[in-house]
């Protein structure tokens, strides 16, 4: 591992899907870290490769997937080199996943108690009585009321929000080191969504798990994430802390995503939108894949792929606009507002540090 604070390191991952029409290049050289205890959000449109990335980590890709290169290091071991048998020991034990649709990710013919207890019996060889007792505890932890009697119910007897709580209970029963949540609240109503998100935050503190959170809802990201990675056409185009991505975004695609979401106080006739549709990954364009939809595209964007430019120690963006020779552009109005807010926040932070700075020095001398 490059850094001991990382629980997971993905390096140069490339995944192709073999189809009759040719190879779909779904993941094109993706690298990222997951730090211990953090929530990393991966955002992007459908087809940008968010779910394929996490399915590759879980070893759950479709049979026509071809992992062309890369490594996924977990506790010093490369998950891509593991056999299916070995992955079975890791899935649901070290790395667990919460899926989007609580309707289809539960077995309709199995009592929920058994579904929650199953990972304990499979991975820890626990006896049924003991496993069910722990399942009951977990049901209480995720807020299923009247757990003693409901443990014998079937999934159809629960509402959507309660079902998602059951899915979370199953994923967390073995206290996994890494939890992958793939659009866990997209199918839920806003009030239920708020409950589930609060529950996830609470449980993350209790069992100190690291979360990869996949979603296209930037509002959810703002509330959940410590860091954010923005994906487009099989690549990460920008990553940084949640404040850096929301208040100081640098990639035009991130600008587009942030401005095309109306906030509760936006009004006016025209909502800024990103024109066109994402490129076909059977034959990805040369250069920057976003160039065709990008109002800020430079000539070089169609010729050469932009490398990551450093914005801060934690913030990188792959756009030629950050090159020292690039022309200065003015981002959309909404983004300028966000950047102004960021500048004020930084100022306030610097002032706070100035006033506390000398005190720390004194302590060091002592």
């Amino acid at each position: 591992m490059d850094n001991e604070n990382n629980i997971l390191e993905v390096r140069n991952l490339q995944v192709n899907f073999k189809t009759y029409a040719g190879d779909v290049k779904a993941i094109r050289n993706v690298s990222f870290d997951l730090r211990k205890g953090e929530t990393l959000a991966i955002v992007g449109e459908s087809g940008s490769g968010k779910s394929v990335t996490t399915r590759t980590i879980m070893g759950l890709n479709a049979s026509n997937a071809d992992i062309a290169s890369g490594s996924i290091m977990y506790k010093g071991q490369d998950l891509l080199k593991k056999s299916e048998k070995e992955m079975e020991g890791i899935r649901g034990q070290d790395i667990a996943e919460i899926f989007q649709d609580p309707m289809t990710s539960l077995d309709p013919t199995m009592k929920i108690g058994r579904q929650i207890a199953e990972p304990l019996m499979v991975h820890k060889g626990m006896k049924k009585d003991k496993a069910w007792a722990q399942a009951l505890e977990m049901m209480k932890l995720v807020g299923i009321t009247d757990a003693e009697s409901r443990i014998n119910d079937y999934p159809h007897q629960f509402s959507g929000g309660m079902r998602q709580r059951i899915v979370i209970a199953i994923a967390l029963i073995n206290y996994p080191e890494v939890l992958i949540a793939d659009e866990p609240t997209t199918a839920l109503d806003v009030t239920i969504q708020a409950q589930i998100l609060n529950l996830m935050k609470e449980l993350q503190d209790k069992i100190s798990t690291s979360i990869i959170f996949i979603t296209h809802d930037l509002g959810v990201v703002a509330g959940m994430a410590d860091r954010v990675a923005v994906m487009y056409a099989g690549k990460i185009v920008e990553y940084g802390t949640v404040d850096e991505i929301f208040y100081n975004p640098k990639h035009p695609y991130t600008w587009g995503l942030l401005s095309s979401m109306p906030t509760l106080d936006s009004s006016g006739d025209e909502l800024p939108s990103i024109p066109g549709t994402p490129p076909d990954l059977l034959d990805p364009p040369t250069g920057d894949a976003f160039a065709a939809r990008n109002a800020y595209a430079l000539k070089i964007d169609t010729e050469q792929e932009p490398p990551f430019f450093k914005v801060s120690d934690t913030h990188y963006a792959a756009t030629w606009l950050l090159h020292p020779d690039a022309p200065k552009v003015t981002p959309p109005a909404q983004i300028v507002e966000r950047q102004e807010k960021y500048a004020k926040m930084q100022q306030a932070l610097a002032q706070a540090q100035q006033t506390t700075g000398p005190v720390e020095e004194e302590e060091e001398q002592q």
Partner: protein, 319 residues
């Protein structure tokens, strides 16, 4: 919207829509709701799943026989249309855009035949050339290419399919369009495209929309007025800016407090307001009361003072 001189295009009066009537699993999906929609406005209908918003939309376009109550469209009772011609005229004036762009287009029909189906049924084209021209114009209006007309739905992306659905609805030159979650299945960047298109068409053709959705920020953006539904009842109706800035009903407050906002600072400070659904089940008779000008809240007689007080505090009422 200028509501002083606005004309009503749709009046819903005490609409009740029950299912499985008389059986043990009788459902009161819509239970005595009343509201009006004015010509040229966008009326947003929001609520959680099971609130009855989709049922309301379907009852308005007469896909259901209402259990009781009246729906007046242009002053005429929708239920009174008996002859084939009357029903056909009604369906021409009122159209629907559906949620799922994958399920709502026949996969075996070419785009031009999907779009022209309404034109054919209503004999709106003089001849084949006219039909082709109308279809091509429609496709262009919704931002598609006339070359697309001989393709099949599976050749299009979700956003493009939704544009086809919009072109089909517009083909018969309707006055009133019900859009039931038209953007929920689309990506964020594509949602903005479709919403902009709908707004543009409204300006150009003077359409009236009933926009049903659960995405509250998008509903506010597109709507002039908004109605909030919960358990088959309409709890609050007001101008969209006002209902978001100054919700009066506890449920509306709770619903709005749960909307995630793409602003980390705001999210860190978020306070959710819980709502106890039991407070409506105390047996008191409630109906919509105009608490502030054009701001209606469902209230019992002894609650009116409380809501009036709230409206005063929010300066919705001038003394």
């Amino acid at each position: 919207m200028d509501y002083e001189n606005a004309e009503k295009i749709l009046e819903v009066k005490h609409l009740k829509q029950y299912f499985n009537v008389g059986k043990s699993d009788e459902v009161h999906a819509v239970d005595d709701i009343s509201f009006d929609i004015y010509k040229g406005e966008t009326f947003g209908l929001v609520g959680e799943s099971g609130s009855g918003k989709t049922t309301t939309g379907r009852a308005i376009i007469h896909l259901y026989e209402p259990t009781s109550g009246e729906i007046l469209f242009d002053g005429k009772n929708v239920d009174s249309f008996t002859s084939k011609q009357e029903k056909r005229d009604f369906r021409q004036e009122m159209q629907m855009i559906f949620q799922d762009p994958y399920a709502s287009l026949n996969p075996r029909m070419k785009v031009k035949d999907i779009v022209a189906e309404g034109i054919d049924i209503n004999n709106l084209a003089k001849d084949d050339d006219d039909r082709t021209k109308q279809v091509e114009d429609l496709l262009e209006t919704v931002g598609l290419n006339k070359d697309h007309s001989s393709r099949y739905p599976h050749e299009f992306s979700g956003g493009q399919r939704q544009r086809i659905g919009i072109a089909r609805a517009l083909a018969v030159k309707p006055k009133f369009v019900i859009a039931d979650e038209p953007i929920s299945a689309l990506d964020v960047s594509i949602q903005a495209q479709v919403v902009n298109l709908m707004k543009k068409l409204q300006r150009e053709q003077g359409l009236t929309y009933l926009f049903i959705a659960h995405d509250l920020s998008m509903v506010k953006y597109i709507s002039d007025r908004i109605g909030v539904m919960h358990y088959g009842q309409m709890l609050e109706i007001a101008d969209s800016d006002e209902i978001y800035a100054h919700p009066l009903h506890d449920y509306t407050k709770s619903l709005l407090s749960a909307v995630p906002v793409p602003d980390p600072e705001f999210e860190r400070a978020r306070q959710e307001i819980a709502y106890d659904g039991g407070q409506e089940n105390d047996g008191k008779e409630r109906h919509l009361v105009e608490i502030a000008p054009r701001h209606w809240v469902r209230a019992a007689d002894d609650e009116i003072d409380m809501y009036t007080q709230r409206a005063h505090e929010a300066s919705l009422i001038q003394d």
